[in-house]
């Protein structure tokens, strides 16, 4: 009887310490989530401005602009950027990304991995060529690194070494919903850009020195903005996912301790009852 009580007590203790960890992780994830969400909002004006200007140039040039980034290359490799996390315990975040990777990434694609989980998954499950120069990007969120990555990719595209560039990231819908998405970055799709353009207004904008030159300097900025935006969105999803799963874990621990506490009390009660009846029985025998 006493042994059972001891065992229950031990379990309560261990669950309690696990609960402390999950609770702490939940708090950390929430504060990180707030930070990345703010970063996401800060980023929006930059992104929308670059995108709007791109759309306007394309619209006012009436499709006459000729940029290597708008044409689909006929040769070269397909490049995929995969954004995952570096730490675990974030629910289905990585698993969902890997499911998409399985579906979307073909054998000969060159994969740029961001996040250590993605790197080890690609190494153990696929035979794709990997580039892990930017694997730390999800924790550093360094814009200069993004610029380097973008320039590197754009050079490859211009030299026709790269055929297409796609990115697999996790879209942040709200605090509870995240969906993995695949987006083609290059060639830049004109439809994508035009989609959000204010229609009708045709301002006779001056392009210095020429629409092509402006577009050539703008498209790299557009891509940087897009990649950076997707990266921040993925990290936000990761933190939100971790927060939710840690919250669930904490709740589970609470339920478990409650049940165990009940069991413990029952065991204690029955031990006392037992003892009392033994004493009574002993007293009765003596008298």
């Amino acid at each position: 009887m006493a042994g059972q009580m001891q065992a229950i007590k031990r379990r309560i203790k261990s669950i309690d310490s696990t609960r402390k960890i999950t609770k702490a992780m939940m708090l950390v994830a929430s504060s990180k989530l707030m930070k990345t969400r703010k970063q996401m909002d800060n980023m929006k004006p930059y992104y929308s401005q670059v995108k709007d200007t791109c759309a306007e140039i394309l619209a006012s040039a009436q499709g006459d602009v000729d940029s290597p980034y708008l044409v689909r290359n006929s040769s070269g490799r397909d490049v995929v950027i995969v954004i995952s996390s570096s730490l675990g315990l974030c629910g289905g975040y990585n698993a969902n990304i890997f499911k998409t990777v399985e579906k979307e990434v073909k054998k000969n694609d060159l994969v740029y991995v961001i996040g250590h989980k993605g790197e080890s998954y690609m190494r153990s499950h696929t035979s794709n060529d990997l580039n892990n120069d930017y694997v730390e990007l999800n924790s550093s969120l360094d814009f200069r690194q993004i610029v380097r990555l973008t320039n590197h990719l754009l050079d490859g595209y211009k030299n026709k070494e790269i055929k297409t560039i796609r990115i697999i990231y996790t879209e942040f819908v709200n605090n509870l919903t995240f969906t993995p998405r695949v987006v083609e970055l290059l060639p830049v799709s004109q439809e994508d850009l035009k989609g959000e353009e204010k229609q009708g207004v045709h301002k006779q904008t001056l392009f210095e020195p020429s629409p092509e030159a402006v577009l050539d300097s703008l498209i790299p900025m557009y891509l940087q903005a897009v990649i950076y935006g997707y990266l921040i969105e993925s990290v936000t999803s990761e933190n939100a996912s971790r927060r939710t799963s840690m919250e669930n874990a904490t709740d589970n621990a609470d339920d478990l301790t409650e049940q165990l506490q009940l069991k413990y009390n029952q065991a204690r009660q029955s031990a006392i009852t037992n003892e009392v009846s033994e004493i009574i029985a002993g007293a009765n025998a003596e008298s």
Binding site: Q39, D41, N42, M43, P45, Y46, Q49, V50, T53, E56, I57, F143, V147, D155, K203, Q204, T205, L206, F207, E208, P209, A213, V214, S217, L218, M221, Q224, A225, Y228
Partner: protein
């Protein structure tokens, strides 16, 4: 005097959103001075110094390349990769970056490295110039 709205955005958010009298900026097509009610214009911005004037006072900034867009509604939007005022520039870091870039340029290993070092050198020089020009 009529003013125009100047909106400077960087990847880290809106850097400045204010009314100005004049904007001087170095573009890929040469130096430009923008006054209120300019016609719509879109152009690239080089790694350079830019400045604007409000009520006779001049404010100077280092910009690490970007893009400028003048809209028909008297708004100028400057999209910069990094924009810094003299107060924000870390002189020691800029000097270090300059030395790093210079020593890399002397080695001359590969083309790409040279190009990147040149850009880094340019950024460092502009930062130092803006910082010291106060």
């Amino acid at each position: 005097m009529s003013k125009m709205r100047l909106h400077i955005v960087t990847p880290h958010g809106t850097y400045k959103d204010t009314d100005v009298d004049y904007l001087g900026i170095s573009t890929t097509g040469g130096d430009l001075g923008i006054l209120p009610h300019h016609i719509p214009l879109a152009t690239g911005v080089t790694i350079s110094e830019m400045h604007y004037e409000v009520d006779g006072k001049t404010y100077r900034f280092a910009i690490a390349g970007g893009f400028m867009y003048v809209d028909a509604d008297n708004t100028v939007t400057v999209i910069g990769n990094a924009v810094e005022s003299p107060e924000e520039i870390d002189l020691r870091r800029a000097e270090e970056a300059k030395q790093r870039a210079e020593s890399r340029l002397k080695k001359r290993d590969q083309n790409i490295d040279t190009k990147r070092a040149e850009i880094a050198l340019k950024k460092a020089l502009i930062r130092i110039a803006v910082k010291n020009g106060q």
